[in-house]
Symmetry: C2
């Protein structure tokens, strides 16, 4: 078993395989989501569908195949996506007249539909979401985090004016932040992407970014304000209250199965998978212990306790296999069961069980009475602990006092030499693409986002950097930079 | 508005468009599922996911793109599907070394995975399901019922022996029957498909078939016993308890978004969409009536009643638009709201509301007290009524006394002349493909399935036909034939 310190990449691949979350497929860059991995996605879907319902956004489904001519209508969009598209060129034995792309995202297909569906200001806002598979033919892939086919939700909305559209853009970003922090226990950095990192075709792109244990960043969710760019490309116009035909303002926003990778990389440890209880496929695993001849008695009690927990909606599993208790303990640490409950003959005599949370070292005895309430409390506590622990680690890995490229390079080198993570660095930036390119060339760091004022617990304001780390010119923006997945 | 009698096909297309369930897309045969249409699918997913959980079958997700070489491993499978496959031949600017098919079904991809995952009898049964988009490039398409891209679930299981695999095959068929009858209020005909209608690569295929109002059949769900055919093609072997490497027995089973088409064609009428309450996006629509100056008072009562219904989990909508009450009544009939509740000032004085079920002609006053219970009861009653009504119509359209091809032809002609539906005909069949071909050639009727003994309410046994309708030879099987979608 390789540790995180020894080789983080190898540790990640080992962790997801040993937890039985995925497998590789014969198609380059396309992975199999096994039940334990897919179930994490199902919990994300449940959470997000509830939020969408509260927002009045309904689900729909649009065709996966997009005619080539659609992409060319929005210049930036085709430039951004064409290098990654797979194409259907033949079907049912015939060569197609026009190539069909496997969707990398659906602004074009949905823009075309909106142009038919939206006619009057009464039709606005028009707000829909779809859960779908999408394709971006990646050169270097990594399970969950970067795959040629992945699953996501993509929301698309059209509004009467800029203000409404911007409100929806920011509202969804906020919901993504809550999804990450409340459900996945992954603390986020909210902010705006720099122009070079914008979604192809957006006026502005906002993101929630997350810091992994190796200090690298994951862009975990994005929300885009499109202005009238797609409305102009696809002729999404409506008759306003002054009887004029005007363009709608559109947004789109998405999170994908890369969230699964992010949550794993945030919480897991050298013993295997750690998942927040809210999404763990196994919230509680019962392990009967003690001599064989007492097993029937133990199992009868375990069944009774299990029913109590199931009755309050907990996801439980009884491991009554022939393996040794020690083997089972290890197995369920690898697989990320949130709580382990051991029950033996002596525990029954003492009216207690032995409980251990996946993220703690110690196990402890608790009285059997009102077990379901205690278990629910223990799961809630663990959920909070994981978020807190991730927050503390983020704090320790955020650097705000680096002012020049030399300092940045030596910071990274000294961290590397000490086998520590270089973390994220908050820099001043003159706003030029050249400066971004220079940073990337020298360090591999890229701009993550221009933060909103909301990160440093206990501090009111974000540090503002006055000069550009590259050119020394006055900074236009203060930006997080980091290596990224 | 065209009626069902005048032109059933036109009526269907008009009904789904006016209910805002779908739209066409620029890609041939690929449709857009609008929110009202997609929500029906979501209710089907919820129901089926609960059933899967009870069965211990877990969801997973497999890559959509399938290498050409996979298809060729099972001879019947490639023969059956190759005429309908779309192919990806280029990606990211390069021509692929091997073409990749857009999955029409996933036996091959999942068979390959099973061969890696299944090693010992301890691994069996291995039972998974996936919700996915699939592609079959159809020449003639019809929204929901036959589209080039559609959504479905496909279950795939591997078992230690034939008995276990057959049990799973039949159990899923039974669950499909319950899904159709309990959730969709569509009565089903369960039986076995003839060899010529089998799934490509199956040893036996079983189906649930449903009769539409025009007497045509929809194959609504299928469950396949594969024997060891796919296990042999993909080397799915396991070490049994005698330490021998033996082939697993596999099954697969699926239902698709064609269920949406079936439920619409079964229940809707000349006033528009009719949906069973269990899947209706709008179970209750409130329509405030009366003079404008009383509207505030009425709306306050409507809000109160609406909250009561929402509190018990009902899907409700308040139509407070500026349209006239008459316009709204018509609109919600078109859209298939299950119950309409009118509330006016006089109703409030009388402590009553006016309720109308979508499938009944009369509306009636009910006291406001315990409204949620009464509404729930009314919805349950409607759900039962729809199933019952469909059963009665089926009974009226089933013919069991037709013994020769001449009789069949004249039956169909006389029905046609009377503008009545020819329905389904139970025939004796000598078991030859030639006889099936002959029937199809002369009448357009195809074999639906060889029924299990379970259709005629009030009769113990199914009619058994002694001679083949085509050749007059002794019948091998008694088979339902009908025109089919």
């Amino acid at each position: 078993m390789v540790t995180r310190k020894e080789d983080f990449s190898k540790w990640y691949l080992q962790t997801i395989q040993q937890a039985d979350l995925m497998d590789y497929s014969p198609v380059r860059g396309c992975m199999i989501f096994k039940p334990n991995g897919y179930e994490i996605w199902e919990h994300i879907q449940d959470y997000f569908n509830k939020r969408l319902k509260e927002e009045g956004v309904r689900n729909a489904y649009f065709p996966m195949l997009i005619p080539e001519s659609f992409f060319t209508r929005e210049k930036d969009h085709i430039e951004g996506f064409s290098p990654e598209l797979p194409w259907v060129t033949e079907a049912a034995g015939e060569v197609l007249e026009e190539r069909l792309a496997l969707r990398p995202t659906s602004e074009t297909m949905i823009g075309d539909a909106f142009s038919k569906w939206i006619n009057s200001y009464r039709d606005l806002p028009y707000e829909i979401n779809q859960w779908a598979n999408v394709f971006r033919w990646e050169k270097r892939t990594l399970p969950f985090l970067r795959t040629s086919e992945f699953l996501w939700q993509e929301g698309h909305t059209a509004h009467a004016n800029e203000e409404d559209a911007r409100q929806r853009t920011m509202r969804m970003l906020g919901i993504y932040a809550e999804l990450l922090e409340d459900l996945l226990a992954v603390p986020v950095f909210m902010g705006e992407k720099t122009p070079s990192e914008r979604f192809a075709g957006a006026v502005q792109t906002f993101s929630v970014e997350a810091m992994m244990q190796d200090g690298k960043a994951v862009q975990a969710g994005t929300s885009h304000y499109m202005g009238t760019k797609f409305a102009e490309a696809f002729n999404i116009r409506y008759l306003n209250q002054d009887n004029e035909h005007v363009y709608a303002h559109t947004t789109s926003w998405g999170v994908s199965t890369r969230l699964i990778g992010s949550v794993i990389m945030t919480h897991s440890d050298d013993q295997g998978l750690v998942l927040p209880p809210a999404i763990a496929p196994q919230q509680v695993v019962f392990i009967p212990v003690g001599p064989k001849k007492k097993l029937a008695e133990v199992m009868s009690k375990v069944d009774e306790l299990n029913e109590q927990l199931k009755a309050v909606g907990l996801r439980t599993y009884i491991d009554d296999s022939d393996n040794s208790a020690g083997y089972k303990f290890n197995e369920w640490e690898l697989r990320g069961a949130a709580l382990r409950i051991e029950v033996g003959p002596r525990d029954i005599e003492n009216n207690q069980v032995i409980m251990k949370a996946r993220d703690e070292d110690e196990k402890y005895a608790i009285a059997m009475d009102s077990l379901s309430e205690k278990v629910q409390q223990a799961l809630e506590d663990m959920q909070k602990r994981l978020l807190q622990k991730a927050r503390q680690r983020n704090q320790a890995n955020m650097y705000t006092n680096i002012d020049t490229l030399d300092e940045l390079v030596s910071h990274i080198e000294s961290k590397k030499a000490a086998n520590e993570v270089p973390g994220w660095v908050l820099i001043g930036w003159d706003g030029s693409e050249e400066s971004e390119a220079k940073i990337k060339e020298l360090t591999g760091f890229t701009t993550r986002n221009i933060p909103f004022n909301q990160y440093f617990e206990g501090e009111d304001a974000l540090v503002k950097k006055e000069t550009c780390i590259v050119t020394g010119k006055p900074a236009q923006e203060t930006v997080w930079i980091a290596r990224a997945y």
